[in-house]
């Protein structure tokens, strides 16, 4: 049963007792909370996920609780226990979902050493993936969200999960955290998009989460092959500009954007090498979401016409849409 189909009271009961298992694709979490407001937010942004049996093995158990003592009365806070340990600073009680999301991401980033983890948005169409590594503030999440609302399927917004043995992209399907202006941008871009409630005054400003679509959840075990590596940068002055990036430079930038490249050493080097060898690499400056989506769709289609690695010539001149 999908989480959205569970009555609110029953979901809260389950979350506050044995917890609910959630499968993100390449990782699974047991989620618990005794905060009714957080349970309601989970029901919205995780509505398309299945509520799995909470017994058995999980990569992490996250448990969001109200801080006790004087904090229960003066500026109440919540704290997150990951496998029973508090390793995040407490948050104000009214920002429980952002703490749950950031804490879960942190836990996964520090546990999943069986994969190469890139800080990247990843979407796919027809089994061919676009990997979009970027630093915070570059417009990565906005572009990733817009692509998933226009026919691309979401693999991940925070984690580009690369399988070490063959450099295939796995899914780490998590709600997309939109910040500040990008919340309204996406709401205007697609009025039917399911967004959770807004959390103002977090460390990153106002945050709202875009719920992954149920069809994307259903595809959470599918893998995709790398086709494009695109370094996005939002620039309100630009329309859409694409410039080729040398693969060696792309390799270096991907390595910098990795969570665990240094820990995995030679395995990460081989996987990253293969990913770059099979991809066409580009720098994207965009000020127009529709134009950026059209440009990426065309790049991906062009890459599709050639069979095998090294799919698209990077010799193409800078193009402007």
């Amino acid at each position: 049963m999908r989480i959205a189909e569970i009555p609110e009271q029953l979901l809260f009961h389950r979350l506050s007792t044995e917890g609910v298992g959630i499968d993100f694709g390449s990782a699974r979490a047991r989620v618990k909370t005794n905060l009714p407001a957080c349970a309601a937010s989970i029901r919205t942004v995780y509505g398309g996920y299945f509520a799995d049996d909470p017994s058995g093995m999980f990569d992490v158990t996250v448990d969001l609780r109200r801080v006790r003592g004087i904090r229960a009365y003066v500026r109440p806070q919540c704290q997150l226990l990951c496998d029973g340990i508090v390793d995040q600073e407490p948050f104000p009680l009214d920002t429980s979902l952002p703490l749950l999301e950031w804490g879960t991401n942190y836990s996964l980033a520090t546990r999943l050493y069986c994969y190469l983890l890139l800080h990247a948005g990843v979407v796919e169409r027809g089994g061919r993936a676009i990997v979009m590594p970027a630093m915070p503030g570059s417009g990565k999440s906005t572009l990733t969200a817009a692509l998933t609302l226009r026919g691309f399927r979401l693999l991940s917004d925070e984690f580009g999960v690369v399988r070490l043995r063959d450099a295939r992209l796995l899914r780490m399907l998590r709600p997309l955290a939109l910040k500040n202006e990008s919340i309204d941008v996406i709401q205007r871009f697609e009025p039917t998009a399911v967004l959770g409630r807004r959390f103002p005054k977090t460390r990153k400003g106002t945050v709202a989460h875009l719920a992954p679509q149920p069809s994307h959840v259903d595809a959470r075990q599918e893998v995709a092959s790398p086709a494009l590596v695109v370094f996005p940068r939002f620039d309100p002055a630009a329309s859409v500009e694409l410039h080729p990036v040398q693969k060696a430079r792309a390799f270096a930038r991907l390595a910098v954007n990795s969570f665990n490249c240094e820990a995995l050493g030679p395995q990460a080097f081989e996987a990253l090498s293969q990913l770059v060898a099979e991809s066409s690499c580009w720098q994207l400056r965009y000020g127009d979401l529709n134009g950026a989506i059209k440009a990426l769709r065309e790049l991906l289609d062009e890459a599709k016409q050639v069979d095998g690695p090294g799919l698209l010539s990077d010799k193409r001149e800078a193009v402007r849409w």
Partner: protein, 100 residues
């Protein structure tokens, strides 16, 4: 004293640059064609600095040849600081070890 490339390097070529993974530091380095040419030379067998300069003089274009010494010294210094090459005491022993 002759110079030689360290053992166990992993090398991948992309377009006009090469990425080299160091097996001990676990660092990856981007090398331009000239740097990789020197590294490749030292992967085959130990060479002295004068032999490397000669090699680069042959490889460089006419107008760049007068800078071969400066180029070589800089390249050797950088490759050594990255730990990709090292001095070796006995060139014959190392050559035999690499090509039994």
């Amino acid at each position: 004293m002759p110079l030689v490339a360290v053992d166990g390097l992993r090398i991948r070529h992309f377009d006009d640059a090469t990425v080299v993974f160091h097996p001990l530091s676990w660092d990856a380095h981007l090398l331009n064609p000239a740097a990789f040419a020197v590294l490749e030379l030292l992967l085959q067998a130990p060479h002295s600095e004068s032999e490397i300069i000669e090699f680069l003089e042959d490889a460089l274009r006419d107008e760049d040849r007068p800078q071969a010494v400066a180029h070589s010294e800089k390249l050797i210094s950088e490759l050594r600081s990255l730990g990709l090459i090292r001095q070796t005491a006995d060139s014959a022993i190392d050559a035999n070890r690499r090509d039994p």
